[in-house]
């Protein structure tokens, strides 16, 4: 550099001037530098690049494995979900069937109880009706008999009673009396 500065100061150096010595030394320096780089820098750079490439490759492979794993897990998850969904559907269907059956059973039982209640109510109403009719009939008969009894007591004179007595004793004699 001091030489370059010296040339510039001397006014002989321009960017387009050819200086063989400078070219030579530049090539020498370049060659030395290249040799040094080739000997010491390049393997290190290459090793670094290769390491990096290997790491990247490794990371890529890991990423691929992870992706495959993720895909497998996703697939498995999907299958699990599908299976769970099917199972849930089946459980739901079964529950619905059970519920339907239970509902039918309850309905049938309720219907049967209703019929029984209805029948019992009909029977009770019928019995009550019969009882009421019987009581009414008994009342009417008792009233009729009581009226007939009173009438007989009032109307029966001694002569009629005598005939009645004699008539019964005649039946007794004939063996027809109750």
């Amino acid at each position: 550099m001091p030489a370059l500065l010296l040339l510039v100061q001397e006014g002989e150096f321009t960017p387009f001037s050819i200086n063989t010595g400078l070219i030579f030394w530049t090539i020498v320096v370049f060659g030395v530098l290249l040799a040094l780089l080739w000997r010491f820098g390049w393997p290190a750079i290459l090793k670094t690049v290769e390491d990096r490439e290997r790491r990247i490759q490794q990371q890529l492979e890991e990423a691929e494995r992870a992706r495959a794993e993720a895909a497998r897990l996703l697939e498995e998850h999907k299958r699990t979900i599908a299976s769970a969904k099917a199972e849930a559907q089946e459980i739901l269907a079964r529950a619905k069937a059970v519920a339907d059956k239970e509902r039918e059973t309850l309905l049938a039982k309720a219907r049967q109880e209703y019929e029984q209640l209805l029948e019992r109510a009909r029977q009770e109403i019928g019995a009550e009706k019969e009882k009421a009719i019987e009581a009414l009939r008994r009342e009417a008969v008792d009233l009729s008999i009581a009226a007939a009894s009173k009438l007989l007591e009032a109307q029966l004179d001694s002569e009629t009673n005598r005939k009645l007595v004699m008539g019964y004793l005649a039946q007794l004699e004939a063996g027809r009396a109750p």
Binding site: A148, R162, L164
Partner: protein
Amino acid sequence: MKSTTIARNYAEALLLAAEAQDGKGGSVEQYGRLMDAVAGALEADERIAVALDSPRVAKATKAALLERALADVTPPEFVRFLQAVVRRGRQGLLGEIAQEYQALVDAKLDRVHAGVVLVEEPDARLEKQIVERLAAALGKDVRAHFRAERGIIGGVVVRVGDRVYDGSLKRRLAVLRRKMLTGE
């Protein structure tokens, strides 16, 4: 031995005595009436029963009392019978003896007692007609005991022993009521 059996034995002895006296039945019935009178007197007047039952009164005294009280109105055989009863201490059975005696007399005379219930007391004509009809119906001599009861409404109810012949209007109305209720 049961008192009924004892009473029946005494009654049979009394009946034999009555039959032996005249054998026509008249005394038989007379003895029956006398036995009923004696039993009725014992029942009506407690003093007689007490006197006859009392152990303080000697049996000879009891016999003398009976003879003095009954000698004028009853046959001597009847008085002796009563004395025999008292002597054996069976004076408490005089009522039962009277009943058994009546039963024996009824059997002997082929006679039945009939309880006749009418709505009102019958007159003599009706009584006679009823007795005749009953005798014809039962084929036996009938001794009727009449009683009035308004409850039968009309007709007649006759009880002979355990049998009841019910010809009352009350029964007819009951039959009518049953028929009306059952629709027979």
